[in-house]
């Protein structure tokens, strides 16, 4: 009995060590556009939040996106956290952060520094600051918000667009 449970614990340890909590996809803007922004997904509302580990207000609102990701899991909602962390900080900051916070939402590292070439394609309203959040459905940007969101506002926006 003791042996079996020991093996079980051991197996769990190995499994948890070999399977990362969350995969971080790496895209440049072209890939991000074709894989996410232009993707036609049957009426799925994509809630795309642009953030970075060094951005205080972003970190503050991140749990709300996690919350929404959980709460709307059975609805047509896909939460995507797009990190704009710097290349130097990908290994040293972003990956450890994702692991430490045990983030469950989909995570993309958008490594494309030619901001002026792509930022308008996300939204012409975007001044270039984060946090910023867009709501996309059937490859159309329905709403853009360049500010720190509260859980209530995030949920009501989603409910309105669903």
């Amino acid at each position: 009995m003791f042996k079996t449970s020991f093996i079980l614990v051991f197996a769990t340890l190995i499994l948890s060590a070999s399977y990362p909590e969350n995969e971080v996809k790496v895209y440049n803007f072209k890939e991000f556009k074709s894989e996410i922004l232009d993707k036609k997904e049957n009426n799925t509302l994509m809630v795309i939040n642009f953030w970075a580990t060094w951005c205080g207000p972003c970190i503050k609102e991140l749990p709300y996106f996690e919350e929404v990701n959980k709460k709307y899991a059975n609805k047509n909602v896909r939460v995507i956290l797009v990190s704009l962390d710097f290349e130097k900080q990908y290994n040293s900051k972003l990956l450890p952060f994702v692991k430490e916070k045990n983030l469950k939402s989909e995570i993309i590292w958008l490594n494309d520094t030619k901001y002026n070439e792509w930022i308008d394609q996300v939204s012409p309203q975007w001044s270039g600051a984060i946090p910023a959040t867009i709501f996309v459905k059937n490859s159309k940007v329905l709403k853009f918000m360049e500010k720190e969101l509260e859980l209530e506002e995030l949920e009501s926006t989603i409910n309105n667009l669903l």
Partner: protein, 203 residues
């Protein structure tokens, strides 16, 4: 009913235009910039009119704490070293509310400017009025001014260059190209870009 649609669209469009004009505020390229008098890290008050010889200014709204401001810090120093002698000194202005961001207090500005031996003035926009009148929203956010008679005309607004992360990989040096055009008396080809950075911490 069908005919109504274009009208509705037009109304909404005009409405949006009004909103954006109301909220955007600040300067557009071509506008004449107001002078200001702000406190430098050395304790002296500085205003644009103190620079009798200047042909213009590289006004940069920046700060201590913002990661983008840090990435650009050396490039701002280099800009001043290169262009001050040519008549375009850097005027760095910190517009952040130190209550919201203690790293950006006047005392910390003094510290940072000493550590890095800033060759330019580093002014504290305590009331945030200068940032507001310029329409700055982020750090770093550049307003390149060109002296026209006794006034200063905004010649370029936006980012310093096209690569915040890596100075070596820059392909378009927006500010330097704009100054080069001004010196030749030519039109600035790219006169506005989006300045990627941190939001100014308003009171």
């Amino acid at each position: 009913m069908k005919n109504l649609v274009p009208k509705i669209i037009l109304t909404v469009f005009l409405g949006l235009m009004t909103i954006s004009t109301v909220f955007c505020g600040g300067y557009n390229v071509g506008d004449m910039a107001k002078s200001f008098t702000l406190k430098n890290v050395d304790g002296n008050m500085v205003s644009l009119s103190d620079y009798k010889e200047a042909k213009g200014f590289i006004v940069v709204f920046t700060c201590n704490h913002c990661p983008y401001a840090k990435l650009y810090e050396q490039r701002i120093i280099d800009l001043h070293k290169k262009y001050a002698a040519e008549g375009y000194p850097v005027i760095a202005i910190n517009p952040n509310d130190p209550v919201k961001q203690p790293d950006d207090s006047y005392e910390n500005m003094i510290k940072r400017s000493k550590q890095k031996a800033y060759p330019f003035v580093y002014l504290f926009d305590e009331t945030q009025n200068t940032a507001k009148s310029y329409g700055a929203t982020r750090t770093p956010h550049v307003y390149l001014l060109n002296k026209v008679q006794d006034k200063f005309q905004v010649a370029y607004i936006g980012a310093i260059d096209d690569n915040p992360q890596s100075a070596e990989d820059v392909e378009n040096k927006y500010v330097e190209n704009a100054i080069a055009a001004l010196k030749k008396g030519k039109k600035v080809a790219i006169s506005s870009t989006k300045a990627i950075g941190c939001t100014i911490k308003w009171k």
